[in-house]
Symmetry: C2
């Protein structure tokens, strides 16, 4: 199959996936680049593969050959892409969970993606995002996950409800906070541990913070300010299972 | 003083600071935003303050009033800025050093800036960058430092020479590497410790790696891949003084 015109109806449909609204409506999203697509295939997410006319398909899956005009319209990069995959969200299976990360209003898609990548590297089971976090399926966020997106269970949920549910399951919920908190080295993980990180500017909202069981503070010397993805990296490493 | 035309000679000179070549030639750079400029003033870096006509100057320093056209030409943001500072590089004073970070070819200016910010937060004394690292005075890098740029001694240097010099001063030089390395928790800092991090794709170059005294590996469970700024955050926290 070949598509030449950028005003083709299917192309128009895919182009809607460049916005959050379109992704939410269709439960689909676009990704670019061989490495990312390979990870998505492994996770069983790829519905359609689009390839620039004249290029060799590196995958066993059949691809739709597209003109440069079509690829440019669908690519997030100004210079276009030669390989794009239309992916489907898969419903997350309920899972036994012992290590969970919660994000409260993290705004930067690069930070959300980097935290997801870190959680995956340290064997965390789930990432829960408040409704006002950056969209995980945002192109910049997907790129920052470096493919980890397809290997970690994630979902959007009201954090107050999520924390109550975790506590019912026996989780210790640890918040990171600068004030009224104990030094990180003095805080210990339980068998089931959940970590909460707040937004870049404001931190964790008071109503979420008040529900947490413990508050930990990363010990700093000067200039008390860390990027949220760096702070999360330090805490996720500290509280990973078996540490 | 007031400047209306974007083709004014001084404006043209400042505009050259948007490129690395211009910054290197003049030893000056541009920054935007009240918070960053405040930090730069505290560090004594600000030479000229430029303010959009009609806006109130929040600082005691006298400002040059500029037209919207001038501010737009000098701003890194499409929508322009209302406050810009021309800053001067200050020669780094030789300092007693006990904690040093070395970066080998880190490409992304956001990563370089975030690592600088983290090094500052954990009380490190110096950041040494190989010649092929992203420019610290790149606008994206400066933004990522969140002002820490003005509080940490940094310099570009050949890393092989820098490591030899550190070792002469009694430093233990620790490289992060996935292979032929010991788990991070088993590696201890000396009284004087230097940490080396490599580029996003390739890690540390073999000729640099071979000079290091120890190799540490961050223990991971799955998907062995961390963002370099996150990896640096974990190690910098682990080896900070007094930890």
């Amino acid at each position: 199959m070949e598509i030449i015109s950028a005003s083709n109806e299917r192309v128009k449909g895919w182009a809607r996936l460049q916005k959050k609204k379109g992704r939410d409506q269709r439960g689909e999203f676009l990704i670019e680049g061989e490495h990312l697509i390979e990870e998505a295939m492994r996770g069983g997410h790829v519905k359609e593969l689009l390839i620039l006319k004249g290029r060799q398909n590196p995958f066993a899956m059949e691809a739709i050959v597209c003109s440069e005009e079509v690829m440019r319209k669908l690519s997030s990069s100004v210079s276009g892409a030669w390989l794009i995959a239309v992916c489907a969200l898969k419903p997350s299976a309920p899972l036994p969970r012992r290590r969970v990360v919660l994000l409260d209003g993290v705004q930067d898609p690069g930070n959300v993606g980097t935290i997801l990548r870190t959680a995956c590297a340290f064997g965390y089971d789930q990432l829960i995002l408040s409704q006002d976090c950056a969209d995980v399926l945002n192109e910049k966020c997907i790129r920052s996950t470096q493919g980890a997106l397809f290997h970690l269970n994630w979902q959007r949920q009201d954090l107050c409800g999520a924390i109550a549910q975790l506590q019912e399951e026996g989780f210790t919920v640890i918040a990171t906070a600068l004030r009224q908190s104990r030094p990180l080295r003095e805080v210990s993980a339980g068998e089931k541990t959940a970590l909460v990180f707040g937004s870049e500017g404001q931190g964790i909202r008071p109503q979420v913070l008040s529900l947490c069981d413990q508050r930990a503070r990363i010990e700093m010397d000067h200039f008390e300010s860390l990027n949220v993805a760096v702070a999360a990296g330090i805490c996720l490493y500290r509280f990973r299972e078996g540490s």
